[in-house]
Amino acid sequence: MTALFLAFLLAFLFAAGAPIAFAVGVAAAAGLLMTGLGNATVAAQRIFAGMNSYPLLALPLFILAGNVLVRGGIIERLVIFADLVVGRIRGGLAQVNVLANLMMAGVSGSATADTAALGAVMVPTMRERGYRVDFAAALTTSAAIMAPIMPPSLVMVIYAIPTKLSIGAMFMAGIVPALLIALCLMAYVRWACRDMPLRVPEPGGPGALRATIDAVPVLLAPLIVVGGVRGGLFTATEAAAVLVGYTLLVTMVLYRSIRLKELAEILHESAVTTATVMLVVATSSLFAWFLAIENVPNAARDLFMAIADNKIVFLLIVNVFLLVVGSFVDTVPAILIFVPILQPAAVQFGVDPIHFSIVVIVNLMIGLNTPPIGTNLFVIATVSKQSVGAVTRALLPFYAVKLVALALITYLPILSLWLPRLAGLMR
């Protein structure tokens, strides 16, 4: 009864446009009051403790590093470089979109940030060269889902909180699945753009050497994160701090594209973004804590054990469940609330937790592009000045592509586990 009321309360607040952080907080507080399990002091203490975490410090740092690079004009450099690599093949600019997204994913941890940043550059450029705007929008937002799958990843930092998984191992585990998604998208683009005219090289752009040199500092950035975290040299937070130092060096000293005054704006912007994510983390932690003392995770595990009798069926049910959850709930509360419920069942069925984390994240990222409540869908619709309906229609074939990638990632654990094992980050 309590659960039903809380679900209704959440749905009402979401629909009324209340901030998700506070809607979840209201539901958690209502749950605590109705069951008599906690009081205001406990709630405040849980909220504080939910944010007072060393691993979470990676969050503002990765957000800041991404913002510094975007403001420092990195997207344009990446697009020019990607153009050099894949721009001359049929559907070249669409391939550039995927490659630029993949490279950006290596320095950014947020699909929404990438959708906005790359959409603003790629959609108008693709339109100028004769691509349909809805196709360009759908492609950009589909490719942006690689951001939190490819390290660094804000989502993985948050995923590690309730599960206590190694962020380093998750970072490693995401690389091959992200590359797989890129490959699937590129294969589809190759087919979808088969009638596009071949592009003639345009004179006047920077030379090949110049474009490569311009892009190298950015292409090196992921190595700091992956290289640093691998083998436990750095914690993810330390790697994030070093990444911030590196991006500041590149943009302020090397490119000279950011001035001191702009740095204050970037810090402010990053602090506010951090706050919006951290508050969702804090109240979701409170809600998850309430569910845990209500013994919901164990009940859910028993339910899954009753309806699924093997790993394959279990993973299928989880995929369907998460695709639905992801289309309604934002990624952070979805992870903090549902992962503690799903993971015990996954472990019971013999699914490796690191592999499971990648499956969950890919699912939720697809949900970010899915109506009725797909954040990135709204972002790209705004950026490309298309209706949500038009972008959704253009997204239909991309869903199929992403579901193929998801199926491969779900049923071939080796894709996720090969690299972290190779790096010695897990058995």
């Binding site: 209201v26 507080a29 205001a40 944010m51 740092l61 810090l267 602090a271 506010v272 951090t274 706050a275």
Partner: protein
């Protein structure tokens, strides 16, 4: 990870999520909070980079940077939560209902604002009691009184409540004068 969006609002009714404190008082609070956000994140970056250098170059890690950075993270999250109300940056759904001048839509928004304010007041009250209960309890590394650290909870909740109260007042004004919908 998602961020909010607010584009597409009709000109006559701004997005209901933007709750800007009015007047000179509002401006002063805004400036102070903005400065704290910039400084807070700046200090986090500096002490964590310094700590990496101390640990890996000088092999002499300091005991306090992590704790300081964590406390600052909580502070910028809560203070930023207040500014996110003013900038309409909170992650939320932006359905047509949220901008509709229809009295029923306004009533729904009023209810949501009231519930949100109730939660903020609840958490702020809890934070105040927490601060009082731990006033003499020192933190692990910095030896700061934890009560002082916890004070950021009621302080930020107070600022958020002010923004929410202002939002409530505006929605009520809209309800009363349907001809001047959304004017502020």
């Amino acid at each position: 990870m998602s961020e909010p969006r607010s584009a597409g609002a009709p000109a006559d009714l701004e997005s209901a999520g933007r709750l800007v404190l009015p007047g000179g008082g509002g401006r002063a609070v805004r400036r102070a909070v903005d400065a704290a956000l910039i400084l807070g994140l700046g200090v986090i970056v500096v002490v964590l980079i310094a700590q990496v250098i101390m640990r890996y170059v000088f092999h002499a890690a300091l005991p306090w940077p992590e704790e300081l950075a964590q406390f600052l993270l909580v502070a910028i999250s809560l203070l930023g939560g207040f500014r996110a109300f003013e900038l309409d940056r909170h992650i939320r759904l932006d359905l047509p209902l949220n901008r509709s001048p229809h009295p029923l839509a306004i009533a729904v928004r009023l209810a949501a604002l009231l519930l949100t304010a109730g939660f903020v007041a609840y958490a702020g009250w809890g934070g105040l009691r927490l601060a009082a209960a731990t006033w003499n309890q020192p933190s692990t590394a910095l030896r700061l009184p934890m009560g002082m650290v916890y004070l950021i909870v009621p302080l930020s909740c107070l600022a958020m409540l002010a923004a929410l109260a202002w939002g409530l007042a505006q929605e009520i004004a809209r309800l009363r004068s349907p001809t001047r919908k959304g004017s502020r």
